[in-house]
Symmetry: C2
Subunit: 308 residues, 2 copies
């Protein structure tokens, strides 16, 4: 899977993933009003609104980026209707040739992690039939439970040619509370990162592995160190833009070839029309505003990392 991601990054010239995390406040009022009038003020209406919003965003950016990253929590909060929208969003993105990173941050003990891995990356057997429940290409995984919580995901990656990004150092303000704690002088995130590099060794294709890591743009000094510690680990970098990470901060996450990392932006793209810079598009032009924001982000990042 990692080769496919790298191919598509090269093809688009954009080490960028669009975070499909539609918050209620991102949805244009007119779209919401249409859905309410059709389905009432119900979760079902919200599910349809999320799908319609995402379809338009995807149509506007699909030729520009290699991948999208829907955040399942934003769908799960609307219950089953929201999760239907999550599933449909994945289907539509894949139809458009995009790689889908499910930001699910699952993680549990052995047999339970295996069930999550099946849900998001694998196939479930029902009688003689098999089904792909959510069918993302890659998923984010929480490492707190240790190797036997992560291994079932790795097994499914191997079998189904899928990938994972394991949380190493997250982008939020209090990520350091546990992740930065020093164990014999070494921060916990570095110990987790070493494990990620080790877990990924059997799944290397070329320089990188199907087992990647998450390191936040908001901690560039950590990014620099972890790029070094995890030489064969592709890094998913959240936190650019709205969370405060700049293109300058991002340089250290990339290798000498300008590869090795993919940078996520969610609200900076999908809610670009709410930003002064793109306000002229108006709420109805949210998808065009998203396209403009992707082009600006691409220029910003490729310049910083020295791509032509």
């Amino acid at each position: 899977m990692i080769e496919r991601l790298i191919d598509q990054i090269k093809k688009t010239g954009a080490p960028i993933v669009v975070g499909l995390d539609p918050q209620l406040s991102f949805l244009p009022e007119k779209l919401l009003a249409e859905m309410y009038s059709e389905y009432g003020e119900t979760p079902e209406a919200m599910g349809h609104a999320l799908v319609r919003f995402n379809h338009q965003i995807v149509d506007a950016v699909a030729d520009l980026v290699p991948a999208v990253k829907p955040q399942i929590a934003m769908y799960e909060q609307f219950g089953l209707s929201g999760l239907m929208a999550y599933r449909e969003t994945i289907r539509y993105c894949k139809e458009k040739g995009l790689i889908v990173i499910g930001d699910v941050k699952r993680g549990d003990i052995g047999s339970t992690s295996a069930a999550y891995a099946t849900a998001h990356l694998g196939r479930i057997q029902v009688g003689k039939e098999t089904y792909a429940p959510f069918d993302e290409d890659l998923a984010t995984v929480n490492p707190y439970l240790g190797s036997d919580g992560v291994q079932p995901f790795i097994d499914v990656c191997k079998k189904e040619d899928k990938g994972i990004f394991v949380l190493v150092k997250t982008s939020n303000p209090s990520s350091g509370e546990f992740q930065d704690l020093l164990v014999d002088g070494k921060p916990l995130y570095e110990i987790v990162g070493e494990k990620v590099e080790e877990w990924g060794a059997p799944l290397r294709h070329g320089n990188y592995s199907d087992v990647g890591a998450v390191v936040g743009a908001t901690y560039p000094e950590v990014g620099k160190r972890m790029r070094d510690v995890m030489k064969h680990t592709f890094i998913l970098v959240p936190g650019y833009g709205a969370q405060g990470g700049t293109a300058e901060d991002l340089k250290v996450f990339f290798d000498g070839d300008g590869l090795g990392a993919i940078v996520n932006s969610s609200r900076g793209i999908i809610a670009a029309y709410k930003n002064d810079k793109y306000a002229s598009y108006g709420p109805e032009g949210f998808a065009d505003a998203a396209r403009a924001a992707v082009l600006d982000m691409k220029a910003d990042i490729t310049k910083a990392i020295g791509w032509k």
Copy 2:
């Protein structure tokens, strides 16, 4: 919420939670065959099979125990049909007066954790209406992202009178890989446990807080220490039975009044009919076997902790 849980533990005399984690192999063949013949070999058939299985288990044990703990991964692996079964299981358990602990192990950064908290413990606003998406009473939470990932759950607990159990030391073999690392001589799980105690302080009712912790029965020496470190934290204890924890191991998790902990058993109860001891019930008698297993577990634990 914690007062309600304690009340129901006292009323039933059973500090026991039944884990509703039906694996495909737990379902009696006849039940599966019926569902396949009605719905085909589809995820929909599995959803209906899970619901029917759970209803019978719940009918058989509802008067004996205070709470159930459905593990969402076991439903998520069947996609939307599985999650419909999860939602229906919660509804049915609450109708029967059981407290429902959603074993979801969610955790993310601020606004995303808020969405998960809404999904599982809160209400979502759609226009002028509000809906409870999954509506568990309590949920398990992963602490790796730190305070700002946990706080949104605590906020919802306060607003909706719900509760959480934060993962401190999990029951699986490799839990020590990160959780046992020593930071200035103190294991990470203990540092997390101190935080849990601190997070829970504003939500105390009597001696215990709506913010609880997960500590595995498989590590009794940790349980003893954490009972002391987290004096106002109720402990959810997985790992009894199938995972190897014994009633003797459990004593240390309880306080002087025999409270302060609730012990989970999943396959030991819901798949009891597959155990030699209860094999005479046969696959068709799975619910009666579950009831017998609960009664035996209750006797085993109450004897060990000195309840009459």
